[in-house]
């Protein structure tokens, strides 16, 4: 995108958080998932263009441990609350108080923590690629370390595919990714968001298993994308259309 710029802000614990800005009237905060970054998740998949065409601005950070942001190696640096506070730091740097938010996969977990910790900063919330099972604790620390640090194969094919994919993100740091998974799983979010929420998941996405019941317990609206898996739901027009329709209300 021609007008997209990359900026960075330093958090109160000294970490640098890089983020993309696409100027626009109603900025949407976009929160990517595990082992990815803002550009592969939101630009390559057509989201930034779809939002810009609909008149929205975009703020898309690289979460700590990912992309161009700092990559500490301690799990305590990645509690969901810490990752959520990074989102607040980015919004502060852009002088934004109140935005729409879209998360995908682990990014949706971080958005739930952000909605828990700073509900006044979210207008409407879209959670993609998430279901009733927190994936990191489901896979287990041993499996996460085996794939990310030792390059070993694990029995669970979903864990295997997702963790291998995480190593193909931009500039991956395996020790930072392990710390991130441990931090996020040790700070689970249980409370439903108090802001209007939409849950979107692929019909054949094993990561988002139980999504309809999850949405119901969250008091959220729910859209299922037919025939799509965890990777292809993200890029689908159906997801973008559902999110845009929800945000313009």
């Amino acid at each position: 995108m021609e007008t997209m710029t990359q900026r960075a802000v330093t958090t109160c614990d000294g970490q640098s958080i890089a983020y993309l800005v696409e100027p626009g009237e109603n900025p949407v905060l976009l929160v990517h998932g595990f082992g990815s970054a803002a550009i592969p998740t939101w630009d390559a998949t057509g989201w930034m263009k779809a939002l810009a065409d609909a008149g929205f601005g975009v703020i898309a950070p690289d979460l700590r441990g990912h992309g161009s942001s700092s990559k500490p190696h301690e799990a305590a640096d990645y509690y969901s609350a810490v990752l959520a506070s990074d989102l607040a730091t980015v919004l502060d740097a852009e002088h934004l108080t109140h935005v729409d938010v879209i998360g995908y996969s682990m990014g949706s977990q971080i958005c739930r923590a952000f909605a828990r910790d700073a509900p006044g900063r979210i207008r409407r919330l879209v959670l993609g690629g998430i279901g009733s099972v927190e994936q990191f604790s489901h896979w287990g620390v041993d499996a996460i370390q085996a794939v990310l640090l030792d390059g070993r194969t694990v029995a669970d094919p979903v864990a295997e595919r997702m963790l291998r994919a995480a190593l193909t993100g931009p500039d991956p740091d395996p020790a930072a990714l392990v710390a991130c998974a441990q931090g996020v799983m040790s700070d689970p979010v249980v409370s439903p968001p108090v802001v209007p929420t939409l849950v979107v998941s692929g019909e054949v996405d094993p990561v988002a298993i139980g999504a309809p019941g999850f949405a119901e317990r969250m008091g959220a609206e729910f859209v299922s994308v037919p025939k799509r898996n965890h990777f292809t739901t993200l890029s689908s027009r159906a997801f973008k259309a559902a999110a845009l329709e929800f945000l313009v209300r």
Partner: protein, 107 residues
Amino acid sequence: MVEITFTLPDLGEGLLEAQVLEWLAVIGQHIERNAPLVEVETTKSAVELPSPQSGIVARFHVSEGETVSVGDALVSFEVPDDAAGIVGTVPVEAEPPRRVRLRLPED
């Protein structure tokens, strides 16, 4: 009118093929350069490819669900003769004509 064919570009990371998930344009539609054209899935991820070309979508060479290799024909566009450039390449967008006034006009 001239027909220009767009082949599957190199998607990087040594990926040699991709599956067409969904066409984001229809035959006969006029599409602008950089507008969403097709969604494809590789072994690594799924991405949206923007149209490399303004023109009328004339023909899809692959159906949704089919797999194509880098360099295989994806779609053909019909474009006016003067916009085609050298066939198979993307024409460079012309700089807008610009007049520079070197001196203040005299009264």
